[in-house]
Symmetry: D3
Subunit: 135 residues, 6 copies
């Protein structure tokens, strides 16, 4: 499937190929995955998203593996198949063990369960949880 074409190196506009080159250098691999080849149809968007990914996913106050696991969590709740596949692979590449993956899934599953319970009961947050009361 797909609603846009995945562009090969030969098909991609020059501005997109420059991003491909940076992806290859930063990641230390010749492989450019589907997401970037699809975005190559829009070189300006490709460049903006790649910059944002580099900035946000870099080591900071959270380590890169924690960030990948948070990314997986959001993608699971949003049912984004591609994102779940690519970030699970990325997390493993950054050292996530199978036991950690299993534990991650249990947390995600529990959150999914209690999110539904809470929504069913429509519970209001306790006053103690509210930081920024307005008005």
């Amino acid at each position: 499937m797909a609603t846009v074409r995945l562009l090969s190196d030969g098909e991609a506009p020059e501005a997109a190929r420059a991003v491909f080159d940076d992806i290859r250098q930063v990641r230390g691999t010749d492989y450019v995955n589907h997401f970037w080849r699809a975005l190559a149809n829009e070189p300006a968007t490709l460049a903006q998203v790649w910059e944002e990914v580099k900035t946000v996913m870099a080591p900071g106050k959270l380590d890169p593996l924690t960030k990948e696991m948070v990314y997986i969590a959001v993608s699971v709740a949003n049912a984004c198949s591609y994102c779940i596949h690519s970030h699970t692979a990325a997390a493993r590449a950054k050292g996530m063990s199978e036991e950690q993956h299993g534990e991650l899934m249990r947390v995600i599953a529990l959150a999914g369960k209690t999110n539904h319970l809470v929504n069913a009961m429509q519970i209001e947050p306790d006053a103690a949880f509210r930081v920024g009361e307005e008005d």
Copy 2:
């Protein structure tokens, strides 16, 4: 709002009060938050969910703060207001700094953005990301 009543200690059935007592002891506080008081209408469910929370959120291959951040990530994507409030408070209680919270939000926001981009383009996962091909 709410579709069920929040039960005070006096109103809760004995089986629910026993769970309240365990929550107090495990957490080292007298305060029992709304979620448990709402679940107290169903003591068996209350007991099951509390056991699952204790087991899954305990230190393991992932540390408790990482688990809270994953929980927040799922809850944000599922738009569960109560869950976001309670687990953001829990993460702070477990040591999440404001800078870490800011970085967590940037990762969640980026995942939300790329989830939508990927869904819009309907990209299939690269073969390299697929672990368990069936058939």
Copy 3:
């Protein structure tokens, strides 16, 4: 909150008031709830939605209480606060006991949990579950 005004009987256009009258007669109550008063800003939409609700929620191959519980289930997963409130009230009015409500919440919570587990693992449906294979 709200992005449109809730129209009183005096404010509603005549076409909307006619729908209000039908709601009152069918439901045997003088009370017209917020949803319909908001839709009254668009009388044609109000009339269409009310007709669809009457048709779809009427007794058929599924009984009205089962339909209300299905409605709640969808609304919980979609985090629609108003819908959860109104259809939980409707289910109770149609005879849902508190024990049934508790059991409904457990099923919804379990589905939420396994939906997240399955999405995390990206499992393909077994051949035996596929009815209408195409191409």
Copy 4:
């Protein structure tokens, strides 16, 4: 995949074939796509949905291309693969250029990002944004 069979012209009940004929005439093509062939298992639902699509998607105060882009936006956020495919094709058939598609994706992606940021921070709407305050 699929949980129901796609009915060919020969398999579809007479009431469904009549809708197929109207689809062909309105759209000026002999091709009837999967959605309608799946709904043909329920001819009354098929007829109702087709009428609603014809009415709602017709030119009105919004032009048909704008409507298709709104449809895509909802479908992306709901992760409905079929809907994204079919309405992206429809938007292109109604004149959406690739540059417009690229811009549409950027708006959808930005909305996905800020939706997640806002949910993470649980911000209450400004008083100025509230039109229909109740009570």
Copy 5:
């Protein structure tokens, strides 16, 4: 696709095979579907989820077919393809007729529609719908 391997009987750890055996006995079939084979990578999770499914989906104050339809409803709203396939098959195995399935889809579709309408208008729940007002 999939992010974990589906384990055959020969590959599954002994603790997982014991759960497979219970699944076979309870369901009266030799077939163990993909979900359980994927969870077999985490035998403790497999055992916990299977126990929960047995308990929650058993006959109680709601009959098993009603529970399956509620499960389908949640899974549709969460866009969980595997879950929709497996629980639609389970509902049919428990006696859901095609006419009931058609009616179930109409209720789910109507709920999806009104959930979106209500969210667009951001309507607050009527006071009469609120059971557990806090503070």
Copy 6:
């Protein structure tokens, strides 16, 4: 509610106040809404998001009102209350008539309905809708 404080001009760090100033100038109003005051806790994120909003929502191949309606559509499907309020207000400020708003809601509602129908039936996209077939 809220999980972060809304910062007044006096409380905001200097880098955030500079963004507030640009917001005021670009929008021609002294009012800075809650979203930006919440983001002010993270001045770098505030600056990045404001730049992205200015760039993406500017007139381009799609006009600003169309973009606001697409934004509303995504926000409704994601159940983001604040976003729905703020972008409905923005769309009205950019000229959306009440009749256009009513029509927008009908399209969003129809998409919500058919998204659920399609997900329930798990229909695969027609070959004619697939642009970028991989492998």
